[in-house]
Amino acid sequence: MTAIEFGKSEPRVPTLTQRVLSVWYRHYRVYFKNFFANATPAVLEPLFFQFAIGFGIGRYLEKEFNGLPYAEFMAPGILGMTALYTASFEATHATYVRMQYQKTYDAMLSTPLTRRDIFMGEILWCATKGLMYAAIVGVVLALFGTISSPFGLLIPVAGFFTALAFAGLSFWVTSVVKNINQFQYYFTAFLTPLVYVSGLMFPVQELPWGLDWIAYVLPMFHVVETFRLIVSGPAHTSVEWVWACPLILVVTSVLLGAWGVRCMERRIK
């Protein structure tokens, strides 16, 4: 006979905060099991971009962009892009695999976790990854001298909110796709052009036929401007009303995040 006793202890009912954090903790544990394999591509890709185009092609550009050499002009957008792709991948492919193939959410739903707890934890994790990767890429960029403002220390915060916004949007996509291949449309037809028209590679005023208005209503422009503000300072941003951009980013990310969580709650059977 075993010494173990069953049905005797008081049941433990975890609080909302504990439940959300427990989901975050699960991802943290699984992720850090293979930290280098997981982080290397996500960090190297934006850095290649910065080195090849920012430093590489930038050397041949005599013109100043917003009063800065091209490599420095490009750096803030690279930070925004890092957080955007990190969160978007995590909230699409990775989430879909957990949902359909690994049955992670099925197992979680057998515990005290509710659907909302699970996706609040998920989105918190996505935002955390945005924070981490933006910070790592930020350190590398600082070493190469492209970060001139002490407010650059806020890069992780901006990375967090950027990731929150795009994780929310990506959750919506994940809640409507019929299979994993359909994410291609979202990445190729939406995210890639979004990055290019949002002032990452050239100031939005350069867009033809007054199309800069499109950039202003899309979330990524405000991300890039926010990073520009903290990395290079207000003298080198693209618009006068740049101070509104961090505010717009925070509000948008909270709204998109809440909406994405709701979409996924309904998606899970």
């Binding site: 075993t2 173990i4 006793e5 069953f6 433990r12 975890p14 903790y25 544990r29 049955k103 515990t111």
Partner: protein, 305 residues
Amino acid sequence: MSAPAITGNAVVKQFGETRAVDGVSLRIERGICYALLGPNGAGKSTLSKVIGGRIPADGGNVDVLGLDPWRQQVEVKSRLGVVLQDDAFDEELDVIGNLEIYGVFYWLRGSAFHEKVRALLKFMELDGRERMNIQELSGGMRRRLMIARALLNDPRVLLLDEPTTGLDPQVRHTIWAALRKLKAQGLTILLTTHYMEEAAQLAERVGILHKGKLIAEDSPQNLIEKHVPRWVLEFDAIGRADALQAIRALPRLSAAEQHGDRAFVYDNDHDRLAELVTMHKLDTHVRRASLEDVFLKLTGRSLNE
């Protein structure tokens, strides 16, 4: 007598046009094993999910340990242990890592928790496997680990979905022995299965679900006595179609049926059936009627779906 562990009153669950659960009422006393039997698609898993607070009922009401399993799902699920059909583990982590993460979902940590983990692994005969990777575990070990995982929070009610399907007899008996020990300590077990032997081995009460309705409910012994004659003669219905035809023509026989390629002849008189064996030179013998015969009779051909 204390309040039942689980009660359901006219429970309905609808998926689009189909009623997966169609007005089921049941009452499961504390400390017993209740087996829900039914063919594939009968609504067993759906009913189990409603009871487990996974999905809301569309009609009727459900009570688990005095709580509403959907509206109070956090409280209810804190008191439940669930073993699903698919074993969802974090393949990147080892045995201990998986249990630690699952424990955190209940906010269970620290040295007392680790002691509990060790005791549970021993209880499920998995001691010494702590550092094994999930991929290294055999099917039987994975299933035992799932049961250990479901016991981490010291549940009052255990929901098991096909716990021994696809396992070899040794593992099956290990699991059955563990479940009996749990029952002896007062746990209530709701067992969803279409494996009759399992229900007969473990359950005090059996409910048979068919097309979303509970069509019979009793102890295994009573179900057999109530629904089928005492003795069965089973033989190859295709190879011995001649015998089946001849037997069907006989008067005063309780029943002769065909399910798939097997013929089943039922009677309360053992000797009458034994005579048929000799008369038709059947390559078989007369056996006692079992839960499986009740199941076949009540749910008919839909078993073969």
